[in-house]
Symmetry: C2
Subunit: 356 residues, 2 copies
């Protein structure tokens, strides 16, 4: 495939993307749970529409401003899966959102719950609240044994406590998937029991991430929130959560140099992102050269090693798979969508930079 | 200082910035060389105007689209310090640029030089060409012994070969500064001798980066191209190239969680960038807490460890220093400029995402 695109450019393979969207929808149906995909991965209303058309019950977002972008684009069921600290300015924005969309937010502290309640004021009952519980990633979230007390404080502050959620981010480690999914299920079960003990009959129990989606314990959650599955990336490839033929987004890059007998591409960290997990084998991979690794990455240079065979010529194009697609997409204004070797659409990264 | 800003937001301390701008201008004057600061760090015409007012001879940029932004903003002397691969589309853009600005570009291969000459056509003599030489970073650039032949090919293709440049990026390693500056000087001397041997009387000899700026060997170059010095960042802090009181940009962040007895901030990799050099002590630092380290960074969470003293309260604001400021700025649409505790300006990151 040859595309007349300036490089570096993010390109989406629509056929592969649709397969990924449908597979995850089918997976959630088989599990009998709702799919609430995380839109921080793609930040694109066009892509979110495909997810909803395939059966997604709503969207997950990370920030109030991301929620605003998707609400403005017509999405009416949004969960901000984040322990928000709500000051007057965020409170105003949340109340405006709650007037147009079914809204849920996270809390992981008593102080956070009280601040949320104070800022929502009379709109308190228009926003569902999910208690974040730490299932072992040790990022944010209450400890499992703190869930009951925190939910009680939130309810007494007048909030509509509706359930619990967790992010099993420690599944982002080779071989960790099964054990982390089991741990997630156990912690969510404890949290759900705590909430039922407070009188909540059927709490929302929300978990899941792309690496654990294939290992979700049946009955352990009522919804899952994977994000990266739509595109895949080099991290998922190296974790065994996807295969190269199922990677739907790559960065088209030009060979600009053969310095030192290696390939140097024009896809640097300002288009790929600089993510490199401790277990990653490089700064990104090449879709059509599985042995190759990006071994040196600066803002506008990606130096490639272990490229088998003759060096691709200067001026030729290669398809680079970013390590972490969420951060790559957030660097672009738009994605070029191709199908059958032709450009069929350009999707705006409408929520790019929506961090507040 | 308390600012009514939504977090996370990039904030520039104008007094510190101006001190940094003036100090580097003075340093280049003392060395008797031109200062051509790299604008990829700030991507801001407002900031570039301060640099030019302090005596910068022109600007360095990394891409054709960055050059377009600064040319449109009125900057008339631009060096694209990159081994461009020029196809017809880039050729058209370069010719348009050369009609409005004094333009220089890099080459590091014979094929690249021939492609450049072919696309520039009759405008060949309107663009100065600098041969990139590898001074030990082993990213791009010709080997020192290849400079003469490459310059000869470029000249025979009709290009206006004007000098040589290098980027001593291997100075980004603790303790490397002096040795790398010496190596840079030696390689630039060889390149300059090769160019004089081809009949070029007074070649432009361009080097320098922020870590080596304090160690430039007098007489080894005619201009230097540091970029990060305007702001500083956690990398420069850890390399000893700056001190916290001279860091002019920080990300204002809110404490959103005390999960696990640690501080969790809302400044994740989508605002700080995910850069972490192998020698870095974390994913970023806190300007007012030198012992603290960001030990876990995801898209919207920064988990802080080793914060001495009582935990800053939920909802309080901390100033985060990104590891690599160039990538942090490229994630923002604008920077808030403060002086004397007040917001005095908002600078657009006009060249954000200008990667092509």
């Amino acid at each position: 495939m040859a595309l007349a695109l300036p490089t570096p450019s993010l390109v989406v393979d629509l056929d592969v993307l649709e397969e990924n969207v449908e597979d995850m929808a089918r997976r959630s149906q088989e599990l009998g749970i709702a799919l609430r995909p995380h839109a921080k991965t793609h930040k694109s209303p066009e892509l979110a529409r495909l997810q909803v058309a395939a059966g997604a019950a709503g969207l997950t977002v990370a920030t109030v401003s991301e929620a605003q972008v998707f609400a403005d684009a017509g999405f009416s069921d949004l969960f901000i899966a984040y322990p928000l600290w709500v000051d007057p300015e965020k409170g105003r924005r949340l109340r405006a959102l709650a007037a147009t969309a079914t809204l849920a937010v996270g809390v992981d502290s008593a102080e956070g719950a009280r601040a949320l309640a104070a800022q929502l004021g009379e709109d308190r009952d228009r926003v569902r609240v999910l208690v974040e519980v730490d299932s072992g990633h040790h990022r944010s979230g209450a400890a499992p044994e703190e869930v009951a007390e925190l939910a009680d404080v939130a309810a007494h502050a007048g909030l509509s406590v509706d359930g619990a959620f967790t992010f099993p981010g420690h599944a982002y480690s080779p071989g960790a998937r099964e054990a982390v999914a089991a741990q997630e299920a156990e912690v969510l079960a404890r949290a759900a029991a705590a909430l039922r003990g407070l009188g909540l009959r059927a709490p929302t129990v929300s978990g899941g991430a792309t690496p654990t989606a294939a290992a979700v314990v049946a009955g352990s959650m009522t919804e899952m929130r994977p994000g990266v599955y739509v595109f895949g990336d080099a991290q998922q490839w190296e974790l065994g959560a996807t295969t190269p033929d199922r990677i739907a987004l790559s960065c088209w890059a030009t060979v600009v140099s053969h310095s030192g007998g290696r390939v140097v591409l024009d896809s640097g960290s300002k288009v790929l992102g600089a993510d490199r997990a401790s277990w990653a084998t490089g700064f990104g991979r090449l879709l059509d050269h599985p042995d190759a690794r990006i071994v040196l990455l600066s803002e506008h240079h990606a130096v490639v090693d272990d490229l088998q065979g003759p060096l691709p010529p200067l001026g030729s194009h290669l398809r680079v798979v970013p390590n972490h697609v969420c951060n790559a997409v957030n660097l672009a204004d738009a994605m070029t969508v191709v199908q059958g070797g032709r450009v069929v659409a350009t999707w705006s990264v409408a929520a790019r930079g929506a961090n507040t």
